[in-house]
């Protein structure tokens, strides 16, 4: 398996599928501690990415991610748009013009994406945000890729599992950033919707490579 342009396009397609399937769940999570529009916003954003992919054929994995970045910032609305847009944009920049993404390069792209989210949203690990999914995901990918033994699929799986564990780890946290932070202690006991959608995105990357 190689992470080529077809993989990148399939990743985005599976992201759109995952957002459509989990739309109601994300809305439910966001209703508890936010403004209940996350599922709708993510679904609309990735459907727009699908539409875009019928008009434009990206020539590199990076180009596919950049197209997604632009579309998500424009169509998602709310904070998730610029945050995911920045994540995909930074990841695209890290991939450059490469046609087949090596495991270490993919790990580097996840680190770049995480750094972009942190730069844009000013959140830190433990704030109960999507950073709590992306940080362990990027670290797990780096470790899996650094061993040298890691195949691309192993790196993708490591990232997805770490993101899922990280998202679950937001359940007991008290939010310090975003709309949920207005709830203070009452935000504990609910999963952060952004961390949840982040885990869906990274799980879709595995599905695209399988």
């Amino acid at each position: 398996m190689v992470l080529d342009t077809n993989w990148a396009v399939k990743w985005l397609t599976l992201c759109a599928q995952a957002m459509a399937e989990h739309r109601a769940w994300l809305i439910e999570l966001d209703r508890a501690i936010g403004d209940s529009d996350h599922g709708e916003n993510m679904d609309r954003g990735f459907q727009a990415v699908l539409d875009k992919l019928t008009e434009v054929t990206p020539e590199t994995p990076g180009a596919a991610l950049k197209l997604a970045a632009m579309t998500l910032i424009s169509k998602v609305g709310g904070a998730a748009g610029p945050l995911y847009g920045t994540a995909f944009l930074r990841a695209a920049a890290a991939l450059g013009d490469t046609l087949e993404v090596e495991p270490a390069v993919f790990a580097g792209a996840l680190v770049a994406a995480r750094d972009g989210i942190v730069a844009r949203g000013k959140a830190e690990p433990g704030d109960k945000t999507m950073v709590d999914a992306w940080t362990p995901a990027a670290e797990a990918a780096l470790i899996a890729a650094a061993d040298g033994a890691g195949t691309v699929l192993e790196v993708l799986v490591a990232a997805a599992e770490a993101a899922e564990a990280g998202a679950a780890g937001t359940d007991p946290m008290v939010a310090r950033k975003g709309r949920a932070s207005y709830l203070g202690e009452r935000s504990a006991g609910h999963r952060d919707p952004g961390a949840a959608s982040s885990a869906l995105i990274l799980r879709a990357a595995v599905g695209a490579a399988a």
Binding site: M70, G81, L83, T86
Partner: protein, 232 residues
Amino acid sequence: MTVALVVVSHSEKIADGAAELAAQMAPDVSIFAAGGTPDGRLGTSLERVMAALEQASGLDGVVILADLGSAVMTAESALEFAGEPDGVLLADAPVVEGLVAAAVAAQGGADVHAVKRAAEAVYGSATGVPPSSSVVTVEEGSVTGAGPEFTGDFELINQAGMHARPAAKIAGGLASLDATVTVNGLDGTSMTALMTLAAGKGSVLHVEAWGHDAERAVNYVGGLVQAGFGEP
């Protein structure tokens, strides 16, 4: 020198209304509104922000004002997509007050950094601290007495006293001078600060100025006050 302004808001009405309000104070300044989403929802649109930045390019710099958090993020993202162009600055200021202050400074011919400062000075205007004390500390020798280089006291003679238009004239003119100016202890380049003086007819404005154009700054305010700002 014409700095353009871009206002980014979740609401098309807020962006358009803020631009309309600011334009009243600064008829020669180009103000581009980027509010709401193209399909008429509340939210911020990267496309609209980038279109506004495109329209504003070619002038002598752009200052962006944005409302709630994700509008700031969208504006930052637009700058990242555009490759962080030179002379395009994002001001950390409240949209309405900041935009009006920035527009007045731009109308007065201030450069892009001064326009951004004018917008951001809105936050600190109630403290009475001049925007930059560095101007004072640069000239250590003359500062020992801590006194301003030029001062003036001027009695307001127009019926309405200090209100939006006189404040705009004072702040706009001072913003284009190389001087740090306080009026009754408040930042003279901040229109909103001047308006908080609530100085009526008969009140005296105490002007203190430091810097290269200190004398001109005091004379400028004095001239306006003594002419009643052109009002009855």
